[in-house]
Symmetry: C2
Subunit: 256 residues, 2 copies
């Protein structure tokens, strides 16, 4: 049965989408069957995988609200072993629509339970908020991966995120764990990155992956070509880091 | 009477808070009386102005839900002529609470209308979403400033943001204008920045400020000292850019 992992952090621009797309690609490259659920109304993960806006049919909105099964919404990507359920603009009204919906926190969890999840991993790319969409992702997940940009403002919101995860674990999903914290956009030329990394390792210890994702311009260029950076430029430091992250994730999964 | 400007973009991490805090400081430095409303539950603007989390009393939540007047919520900062209405954690439940509230889109506008806004400018720092908090800001504003990171994903969401602003203008606030688009974190070493900047100028023409904010590590270090970068390091490229932006904003204001 598929392991479901949410990629979440309410701080904006910390590398949630970049981590989802590139970690998924690295897992697919070693033969894992992977599905990405694009739960962000911006739809960046769908774009980063080369799926044009006008090619997006049923998506995550329909899975949550119209009981469309995941297997009927998932589309292939150019990456072998990698599928995606795309996001569309109607998802931006979902936060409001969910407030008065039945079982509002469990809709995604129920949708995944009723689908034949013929995957090894399902990665959910979350929007930059702790609203009902992210809540649905956390309730539907086995674990949460937290990308953390090595910047001061990003550090600020971490304790609020952790408290929210604990609350979801107590109230809705006792099986939810923190898979790990991945440091992103690390810039070795600037002390701030070192300072933040040291703070986070002090606070989270083992939960912080050894792999640190460096700031690397190829990573930010890849989406404009509709490709994960592993396909756009396999040898660049960004790709190599995501390949290492994937092997570290798989090692942790074995130990479970 | 105060000019109210929202600083908004649903894309995360594009420099909304950094622009709000530093533009406000530059305007205050030339003698304008400025108020910042921190409408982001993360509360980064309040932190960037040195207001510790445990020093935050009534804030924007109370202005929206408990009819607290702005003048009773505004606190002084270490910057002369600059005040802030802080954000607190209860704001993170506001999106959900607003859905079934009376006059849900007009609450902030009404609160500002009933307050003695003894300021030249009110800048509203918005969260990374187009939900009811950002909607309240747009309905309450005379104009919107859009920070845009010179990255591909940031470009993607622009048309959705513009359509939302037009919808708010038609349905709730006919006086709403786009004040301008400010290019942020421009990195002259990488072509992506040039490409995005050219695209945006092609699309928005005059609306794009001449001033471009460069990527500058001092800008991201300043918040860890609880200071705007203009106070932390006046002479760095980041500070100089925000000073130029302030004079460009004032020039546009004169021409209105
Ligand atoms: N390692 C990296 N090196 C350079 N640029 C990066 C790196 N990781 C991400 N970026 C760029 O930084 C920006 C923010 O990353 P991304 O969009 O993945 O963050 P996010 O957390 O998903 O944002 P949002 O909160 O809006 O969903 C993007 O333009 C992306 O291309
Ligand atoms: N010109 C700049 N040079 C270097 N770093 C910058 C610059 N502008 C902003 N930053 C840093 O980039 C990060 C994102 O900026 P900021 O938090 O202001 O964006 P935001 O749009 O307010 O994010 P959110 O969507 O989470 O509210 C912060 O860590 C900030 O310190
Ligand atoms: Mg994203
Ligand atoms: Mg912000």
């Amino acid at each position: 049965r598929a392991r479901v992992i949410s990629v979440a952090n309410q701080k904006g621009g910390v590398g949630k989408t970049t981590t989802t797309v590139n970690l998924a690609t690295a897992l697919a490259a070693v033969g894992k069957r992977v599905l990405i659920m694009d739960l962000d109304p911006q739809g960046n993960a769908s774009t980063g995988l080369g799926i044009e806006r006008n090619n997006r049919g049923v998506g995550t909105y329909d899975v949550i609200f119209a009981e469309v099964k995941v297997e009927d919404a998932a589309v292939e990507t150019t990456v072998p072993n990698l599928w995606v359920v795309t996001s569309s603009q109607d998802l931006s009204g979902a936060e409001i629509e969910l407030v008065n919906a039945e079982q509002r926190e469990y809709r995604l969890r129920m949708a995944l339970a009723h689908s034949a999840l013929n995957y090894d991993y399902v990665l959910i790319d979350c929007p930059p908020a702790l609203g009902l969409l992210t809540l649905n992702a956390l309730v539907a997940s086995d674990a949460v991966m937290v990308p953390l940009q090595c910047e001061f403002y990003a550090l600020e919101g971490l304790s609020h995120l952790i408290r929210t995860i604990e609350r979801v674990k107590r109230a809705f999903n006792p099986g939810l764990d923190i898979h790990g914290v991945v440091l992103t956009m690390f810039d070795k030329r600037n002390n701030l990155s070192d300072m933040v990394a040291a703070d986070v390792r002090g606070f989270f210890g083992e939960k912080v992956y050894d792999t640190v994702i460096p700031r690397n311009v190829k990573v930010s260029e890849a989406p404009s070509h509709g490709k994960p950076v592993l396909i756009y430029d396999m040898r660049c430091p960004g790709s190599q880091a995501y390949i290492h992250l994937a092997s570290e994730v798989l090692k942790r999964e074995k130990k479970r």
